[in-house]
C-alpha cells in the first residue's frame, strides 16, 4: 500500500452511505461498494461481530423483498410487506458502514499510538523508500 489510507476509507464510507441513503438506492451498488471494504484489512479486523451477522442476515430480507414485490404485483400481497422488508434490508446494510467508521477511528487511535512510540512511522517510510 503506497498511498492508501483514510482518504480511501472516506471514499468507501461515502460510497456506501451515499448508496444507502439516497432516494433511489439499489442493492447492486450497495454490495459492489461494500466489497471495497475488503481493501482495508486494518479496518476490517477491528470491526465487531454484529457487522458480520448483518452481512450474513442480509440475504433473508433481500430475498423476501423480491418475493413480496412479486406477490404485490400479482395481487397476493401489498406495499406494506415490501416496505418492511426494505426497512430490514436498510437496517442491516446501515450497521456495516457505521461499524466500519467506528473501526476506522479505532485504527486512527492505534496509528497515533504507534507513531508516538519509540519507533517512528516516518522511519519506516523513509527506510522503505530507500
Amino acid at each position: 500500500m503506497n498511498r492508501t489510507d483514510f482518504a480511501f476509507n472516506q471514499v468507501t464510507l461515502y460510497a456506501i452511505f451515499g448508496t444507502v441513503f439516497k432516494c433511489h438506492p439499489t442493492i447492486h451498488e450497495v454490495l459492489s461498494f461494500m466489497s471495497l471494504m475488503l481493501l482495508s484489512p486494518h479496518i476490517l479486523i477491528r470491526m465487531r461481530p454484529f457487522s458480520f451477522i448483518s452481512l450474513i442476515s442480509l440475504c433473508v430480507p433481500i430475498m423476501t423483498l423480491f418475493v413480496d414485490y412479486h406477490m404485490w404485483m400479482c395481487g397476493g400481497g401489498n406495499a406494506n410487506y415490501v416496505y418492511f422488508m426494505g426497512v430490514a434490508t436498510m437496517v442491516f446494510v446501515s450497521t456495516i458502514p457505521i461499524d466500519f467508521l467506528t473501526a476506522s477511528i479505532k485504527h486512527l487511535k492505534a496509528a497515533t499510538l504507534g507513531s508516538s512510540t519509540s519507533i517512528n512511522a516516518n522511519d519506516i517510510i523513509s527506510s522503505s523508500n530507500e
Binding site: F6, V11, T26, H28, L39, I45, R46, L113, A121
Partner: protein
Amino acid sequence: MEACTSRIIFTPVAMIKSYNLIAKDIPNGLWVSLIVGITLRLFAVAFIEVSSSNEASWFKVPVVPFDIPPSLSQSHYQECQFLREEMGLNAYLIGSNSDLGSFHHNCHAMPLMVTCFAGLPRFGFILIDVFTAIMLYAFAASIVKYPSVEERQKIHEVKHCPAKIRPFYGWIYDITNFSYDDTEDKGSLCEKKISLIKWCNVPLMISTFFLVSPFAIFASAYRSLQSFMILLQISAIFSAREGDLFATGLLLSVATYVDVYPFVYLLPLSLLTSNKSPKNNLLRLSVFFTASIAVLLGISFVMNDWSWAFTKSVYGWNIQSRDSQPNVGILWYTFVMGFQRFRKFYVVLFAFYPYIFVVPIYLRLKSSALEMVSGKIIIVSNV
C-alpha cells in the same frame, strides 16, 4: 497494469490498447471469472427473452427492474428518446405541461445519457460489466502489496495497543495475522497462521464477486447502467491514486452529471492524489471538475432546445422524491403514506441526509490521511 489508467477510457482506440495491456497481466483466475460472468449474463438474457415471450410464465411480472432506478434504465432512455424524436416533445416538460394532463412521468435521465445509451445493444451492457470487473481488479491490485520483511520485524519494537482499540480478528487476513501476547515485553510475529483471506487474492475476490453477483447479472440483463456508474467512480478513485487530477476531475464530473451524489468524492480524492499540498490539489481538482461538468451541462442545454428543464426533472427528481417508484429504500413509501402537509419538511430532511456525513467524516479522518503519507503505517498500527 497500473499504467493503464482510466485517463483514456473515453477514447475507444486508446481504451482497447489499455485493456490489451491489462489483458497481458490478467491471471487465469480472472479469465475464468470473466468467462463464467459472461456466460451467466448470456443465460440471464436468454431467460428474460423466453419468459417475456411466454404468456403463461410465472416470471412474466418483471421483478428485477424493482432494483433499477429510471435514471439508469435503458428502457426509460428509449421512452425519453421516443418523446423527443418521434413525438417532437420536450421530454422534461411533460409533467408540468397542462396540455398533456397531470401525469408526472417525465424524463429523469440526462440528455447526453439518453443520446449515448438509448441505442446500446445488450452486448454493450455485458461489455461494460467486463470493463468494470477488470477495472475493479486493476484498482484492487494497485493497493494490494505485501510489506517487506524489515517492516514486519519492526512490529516487535512497537508497544501494544489498549484492548479497546486492539484488533481481535487479525486472523482474517494473512498480513494481519499476528499474535498478541501481553505477558511478554515484545510482541511476537507468528509464522503463517491459518487465515481466512489471503491478501493477494483480494483483487480476484472483488472482481469475481462483481461478475457472479445475481444483482449485477440481472441489472446487466435488464439493460441497467448501474455498472457504468460503478465503473466511473472506481476509475475516478484509481486515477486519483495514480495522481492524475485531470482524469479524476473528468470522471467525477461525468458521474456527478448522471447522479448528483458523487461530487462528495472531491474531498477524499484530493487527499488521495497527494499529501504534500492537499489544498492546492483540492483547488485544481475542483477547477477541472467544475469545467468538465460545465461543459457537459452546456452541451445538454443546447441539446435540450436551449432549456434548463432537465435539471429540475433529473436533479430535482433525485432530491424531491417526486414520482418515486417502489425501490429498496424507504423514502418512496414514506412520501406515499406521509401527510402532504409535512412533505416539504421531509423532503429537506431526506434530501440532505446523505450529505450530513460528509464533512464530519472528512474532518475526523483528514488529519490521519495527511499524516499517513504511506499506507505502510498500517504495519505500525497493527499492534
